[in-house]
Symmetry: D2
Subunit: 363 residues, 4 copies
């Protein structure tokens, strides 16, 4: 039986590791138990946001010191998923995911929050954004479910994937071997990789039928989506890292998780439903909720509840920044806390203009 | 008895007057009945936002044609309050406030939405942001209440003031007469003028005691505030224009109004209370709510519910833009519509980091 | 013989028409002689820049009053080319192009600045960004040269084209007729239309060989370019408007024009050469130069003189804004004035990362 | 005799230390000889620019490894001055300043580039932005001149100062001792500290008379300025760090330095004069110039050469970003390189709207 925990720490800036250091030094966290770190950093969340790598690097350096390994090794052992952009009320923070064998006295009855991880093999450039990435991701999701002791897709509530992107040299390498990549545009490759990964998640959970998938499905049919997928692309890896959060009878600890789907950026009802399924009265949410994980995007049809929005036409502020500000505030207004994880870019992650929202709470 | 109405029109851009023109041409609106126009335009809402004057100018030109007067005369007769910034889900729109004598068959029992207007005298530059502006505003608010047939401060639910600012030449003119102005910084003069106007509103409604006011009160004690004030400064006038929205037994029509105070940017409960006081079930809000009027600001202490926000340190996006995105989304998530009026810069308008929110709805 | 003039007016904002009104009222400009107005307005120059239409509308309304025609008719008679974005030192201004029959006493020997105009037919949606637009533009450039009395391509120094773009409904209309458009992305259609128009200019001037052109050439071969082209796309028209500036023996007046090509954003030598070809000592440039017309873009290979620039990766400031700030400052530093026309988006207009620069000066 | 060198390294991002690592590993740079590092990083250069601390931290960590000391100790030994903002053509890079005893065979006749450093004592909060900071800075400048072997103020060409700022807790600490600080606004304290430091430099060089200085002089009289001052405020220190670059007969090496003052943002002539004083033909500048150090600001009177600029009214892009883009491009257009140091915020550093520009070149 495994004991799984989430620890949410406020930070004073992207380079602030003092909170984690204090927890380690007073023995509250054993760095060897950390399996993943997800964070919101205060950059723009777009191309030139260096707060993500700055934060991940600073945390890895600290953990390397305490684990007495190289920082590179830390980044291989622990999945760092830093999401830039704390627009509006969103508060910069990191969430530590820990997992350890539970002591005999810690055993609990009923299902509890379980964390599982798995990796795909490295992808060839021509596989990114296409079938192989979809299917390998599905396989890894199933492996991560098994790792977490989750036996049914209905117990999967949030799947975070970190996936690779195409660079000019990766595209050239494929061409040199006589293969063409799904796109020659490196920026578009991020969306394709996120989209294929999300489709792979949906395939594993049974939300998406194998027959509905073709290479052309990626980024084409926006309604083909997983309600538990959250994917982000990064330059530092060639494979997919999969983190599954769900409920398992072989997990123990004080935490539980549930999710729902926001159909648009102002769908507060979805968050209320997720709370209700955990038996949380909104008035107690501030006390019981440990964190919320959600995806946000500007509705691609230019409308929210039938009225025009201007997020997609704003050349001063990127639409993902608008979307995080809006969705973050809506969720915060329901759960009463602003240190929540709301990430932009939701290809195949929930319906167009909406997205998944998962709540981790004390039981 | 007066019949007061609000008509909310979506626009396709700041220069789009086609909606109003169509209403006038098919007789749905008599331009002679329009007393005020409030709008959200899609500029940045800050210094170099020209969408406000563009929209006001286009509407005035259209109304001038229909009223067969000069555009300048239109701007004197009708109060145009254009607020820039439709961040996040906020939808660009205009709200037309009309008022006309009610026909005998239109009389209703009970209080209904009433609209009143009044003007102060022109201010001398040295009076702006100081006692004379506070007291003249209070006097004008009382006059606008009388104009609306509102007999008790408890029936006042929203007071919009448009107030002047200091320019270099106005400051110089005062100096030439041996007088000093409250500030020599033209940008700060906008905040001082908004703040003094808000204090004047609070004085008129009895929310603020005469004894609590001194010149130094303006922008000093952030907790000295009116819960119904919404003020904005503009270069085009030297006096204050006051629009009072409230409930009156001498008004008729299908509309009612209520308000509450958001104590911070995610205080959805305040909006729920305002709806409840009008007997509106949130599920019916989309149908019954005609518009919402609210003020938003980034919490000056850098915290929302105890967690750090980054709105005040963001040198790429002005804090007022963050605040409107957040507050606009929270209100929209409760009332189910995004064409709502959320304006930034809330000096003495509700508590620090919060602000007034007024709901106009069908009865 | 025609007398051609340029009048450059500073403006206090996009809605400021007072300078033109004053010129008309004291008889310095006859509105009937105005053939084109080019301006720099202070918006962001990108998608949601409303200062362009605001400025054009305000000027058209003023001219309509003086010409006693409708504003629509003014926009048909006079070409308004408003370019948004006055980054860095660039100063908002408008340039009036006037043309009238010269009096007998005004005749001069030698070539002088000549202005010619022509229009293409309306384009079908499927023609935009493709061969028909290229060839029709070339034909119109030749017509505009004839209109200006310019007999050799070597006397053409600046060709401004205003061209249409694709909208969703225009794309749908083509599809309904069984035709496909060059792109389904409305934003990309602007680049395609600008690019095809620039290629058409190059075809007319002989800079580009007919044989080098194929549909695929548009936006593909960035080195295929005209050194006198400046093109911008707008939603308000379906045809191309062509303004040719050059030297003609049948023109008279005090003005002359020359041009050169900046090979990158800091190529001050190109501006020095253009001045030299007009016999202008840089020390006298401030006095003799009437205006400069140039295109700017961020070097697509990410380098300027071999060093990395960050313009294309900046998600806070659009690359066109960076490019205008840089190129505008370089030109201003040579000619000693900041009210100059520097416009972004230079597809097929000069070499990648560089662009044409034309100088109009007193003889 | 000391040998002083500058090494300019391009970087691929704020965390990129590979170039320095390579130089150290192949013995081209001895880390023990590095006395200062100045860099341009690609953040916004304003409040929430974390690229400065990220870059400084990464470099310090690398040097700590090679020097076998703690990173903190590195930051004490070596002055890191990171300036954010590479707008327009500016290219991210770092400049390493090294100094070592010269070998007998290295001796040269005539003056060469000399680098000197000195520190003030720690300042009390109430001393910042006031007389004590001014006078202590002047004393440290004289000490740094002595350290560099510079005997006359005429041989000082660039003085970089890193100075402290006020934080809320520093202000409170002063109040607790019954002292008031020059401002209670932490952001304004940066300008005050930069301004006082610049005045101190001017005092040491004799450009500013003791009698012209009073506390009120700081930020009041913008024409009171040093033509060699470049100051920047940081939260990480309580004293001033002073780096003096100049010419000395006791220095050797291949480098020389000269400076001039740009009177406005487009004053290319100043850069030409600086080159000329080093005997550099502009055509050879690309080859001979090692780096340029300059300060930029938006002209506070809103004009450049008499025409209105819009930098100070742009609520989307901070004026310092506009100014760096413009001044950086002008300098780059003269010296033919874009990896140059142009920093914003020029209080008392050159005339209003202008700034010092120093050129380091190979002899």
């Amino acid at each position: 039986m495994l004991r799984c925990d989430l620890t949410c720490l406020s930070v004073r800036g992207p380079g602030d590791t003092a909170g984690l250091e204090a927890l380690i030094e007073r023995g509250a966290i054993d760095p060897a138990h950390i399996v993943a770190v997800m964070g919101k950093t205060e950059g723009n969340g777009c191309v030139n946001d260096f707060t993500r790598e700055y934060a991940a690097g600073a945390l890895a350096a600290l953990l390397a010191r305490h684990l007495r390994v190289e920082a590179d090794e830390v980044q291989r052992r622990i999945a760092f998923v830093m999401s830039g952009g704390t627009e509006g009320v969103l508060s910069p923070h990191i969430t530590l995911f820990t997992r350890r064998p539970a002591g005999a006295h810690e055993r609990t009855a009923g299902k509890r929050l379980a964390i599982g991880m798995a990796f795909t093999r490295d992808f060839l450039p021509e596989e990114i954004g296409r079938h192989p990435q979809i299917h390998e991701t599905a396989r890894a999701v199933r492996a991560a479910m098994a790792d977490a002791g989750i036996t049914t897709p209905g117990d999967v509530h949030f799947v975070q994937v970190k996936c690779p992107l195409l660079t000019s040299s990766r595209i050239a390498a494929a061409l040199a071997r006589g293969r063409s990549t799904a796109t020659q545009d490196t920026y578009e490759s991020m969306a394709l990789s996120r989209g294929a990964s999300a489709l792979g998640i949906g395939l594993a959970t049974g939300e998406i039928a194998e027959s509905a998938l073709c290479d052309e499905a990626v980024l084409r049919d926006a309604w083909l989506a997983s309600s538990v997928a959250s994917t982000s692309a990064g330059i530092e890896l060639l494979h997919n890292v999969v983190i599954v959060l769900g409920m398992s009878g072989t997990a123990t600890g004080p935490l539980v998780i549930a999710h729902d789907v926001m159909r648009d950026a102002i769908d507060a009802a979805a968050i209320h439903r997720a709370l209700a399924s955990l038996g949380i009265d909104p008035a107690d949410a501030g006390e019981r909720v440990v964190n919320v994980f959600a995806k946000a995007e500007a509705s691609p049809d230019g409308l929210v509840r039938g009225s025009r929005h201007t997020m997609l036409n704003d050349s001063d502020i990127h639409s993902t920044r608008h979307a995080r500000a809006a969705v973050g505030a809506v969720i915060a207004s329901v759960v009463g806390r602003t240190a929540i994880y709301v990430s932009g870019g939701a290809e195949h992650q929930g319906p167009p203009g909406g997205g998944p929202v998962a709540v981790v709470a004390r039981r």
